[in-house]
Amino acid sequence: MRNIGLRMGIVIALIIIGIYTIYPSIRLYTAKGLTKEEEGKLLKRAIHLGLDLKGGMHLVLEVDTTGIRENPDKLRDQALEIIKNRIDEFGVYEPTIERQSGARILVQLPGVDRERALSLISRIAHLEFKLVAEDRVQDVIKSVDKFFESKDTLAFAEPFSSYLLGVEHDMGIDVRDEDSVRMMIAQAESIIPEDLEFLFGPKESYQGREVKRLYLLKKEPEMTGETIKDARHAPYQGPELQYAGAWIVELEFKRDAARRFATITGRNIGKRLAIVLDNIVQSAPYIKERIPQGRAQISGNFRAEEARDLAIVLRAGALPAPLKIAEERSVGPSLGKDSITRGIRASLLGALFVVLFMLIYYSLSGFVANFALLLNVVLLVGILSAFGGTLTMPGIAGIALTIAMSVDANILIFERIREELHIGKTVRTAIEQGFNRAWLAIFDSNVTTVITGVVLYLFGTGPIRGFALTLIIGLIANLICAVFVTKVILDYFTYKFEITKLRI
């Protein structure tokens, strides 16, 4: 028997490679109480779970360039940089952030809370400091009222001022009236002085109703978010009861901005300075004195995580343009877990059937085929792990399909060996001929599937790529295991024990 020792050596080497490459994956997903450091180390050599199994979001964001004259690709690159910084600081494990053509950005975040991640990514975070025009409010309201009186429109039966309520020491509106009030403000644009604007605060409840505060501000900001050096979240410790227990964001200005802030505050003592984030007035504290240290804070009844996220986006800077969700595929964590359990259960049941049947149908030779099958799966998952491949739900189906299809090779071979034995060949010749004759058909059938796999990989997206990858690697492993390994083992035993009757 030619080179039987060498060939047996290769089989043993394959077994060792399989176990070595699959081990990190098995340890990572079954061991409990791993430290973060161990996990990170294992993850480098383990199979990754796709978003459909782990839960998470796949987003394609498009830079909304309406009304912006800048080059969309440049805006996209700026936005991408900022999103990257925000996600880095937020601390997502293994995010994917890539630029795509057509001013688009691909963002993949495994295992995050959808709403929170979305507000972190897509919030523009344009911060402005604007003075409140308290001394001119009464005049403006009066002139707006007069404007609608004279216009004789049926749309608004009530005058503008009748929508206004007192919210503590501010004015505000009921949120149910928001649409009407916004429409009135838009229509009365010509009446409102050019250097002023109305802006709303966030929604809050006040004396049992949902309200928003309404402010009249100077349009020209005194300062903007670009002057910020650092932002941190901290618990509120001031005297105002409405913020008790809430969190704030502390801002620190850059050097020359700090000087400017000191001048502004010094010049406007007794007035109010509104802190406006994405056109919503977060708060509008009174300036009690000149603030020389270059520090300010945003208070607005934030929960701890809200304040933390806000600090992150302020540090990372504002997006150059709004982002639109062009494509989203989010999977909740529970669905991902269900998919893994179900996929594995289905695959195991299918595999169990195949293994039992092979054993009954081909007896000892079936046992050899089953061993090759096991090695096939181990190598498939091992190679996927070693190359940092991703396992998806269709990928699990691909593994199940590989199991079923890889026995095809052994069936072709064994049926052929039986035929040869029927016509009275010796065991050794039957094995030799069986393998030789079946080889071409096996190789061919694998080529067609590899073609499918490669095309699916090149043109497919996300989950289907996982399927393609398992199919391709599975077939290569199959050629090695079902043909080579089975042959070596059969040869070895027939040689070693001088078998004259093959149990097949």
Partner: protein
Amino acid sequence: MELIKNPNLPFMSWRRYGYIFSGGLVIIALLLLFLKGPKLGVDFVGGALVWVRFEKPLEVSEIRSSLAKIGQEQASIQRLSGTNEFVIRSVTKIDPDSFATSVIRQLQQDFVDNPLELRSRETVEPKISQELTRKTIIGVLVALFLMGLYIWFRFDYRFGLASVIALFHDILIVIGALILTGREFTIVVVGALLTIVGYSINDTIVISDRVRENRKKMRGVPFIELINTSINETFSRTILTGTFVIVTLFCLFFIGGPVIADFAFALIVGLIFGTYSSTFVVCALVTDWELKFPRKKGK
């Protein structure tokens, strides 16, 4: 053990029934395709899919009346059998993202004492879906071209042409079955269709290889008998492998959960007909071709 011992079934005498059966199915599939049309998923037409799970039982009608309040009663609402899970789809062209958001918000508002959990959410802008469609069509064409090239290179031209006809036969029947059962065409389902193409050719190769081999061995034997012998000799392999694959797919179909069910369904139908067509389409056509236009001897 041996289940199928030296079978000797006259497959080719049955080929007329095969033609009637296949022709009938293909006509039904074509009618379904052109009269009813495929139900395209959000991947290809754009739109939104919201999949939610409620804590307590709920009826589709209750969800529909809740969605009616935001003018979305025409959305498709599907209950996953035996669960409190619902899949709500809409092929809205305008702003799928806000559709999804407003659906979730409305359901949360209307069923305050029956909290819901978001299982999955997909939104695809029409612009993106057009690109996905284009990419998928190119992918399918490239795959078919490569397969064709391979068939041309690998088979003699009669088997080659017949197996291309069989491929269209298989795919049409799967498409028909998908339309009939109201399943959606998604990228994953298209992936299943391509896998079927691979398997179907694979199955034909095994038989055609046997025919080529037997042609040398069995000179002077009538062609129809040559084909029958070849099919019979590979029959136990066909049945065994087919059974393994189908059983595995049934496991995926019944246990794998809704994410993979449509994929497994397409594969099951495709593999059954891919196996069937190797004999009753490819071999049958090649047989009739030979009987009408016999090849010169020695070729």
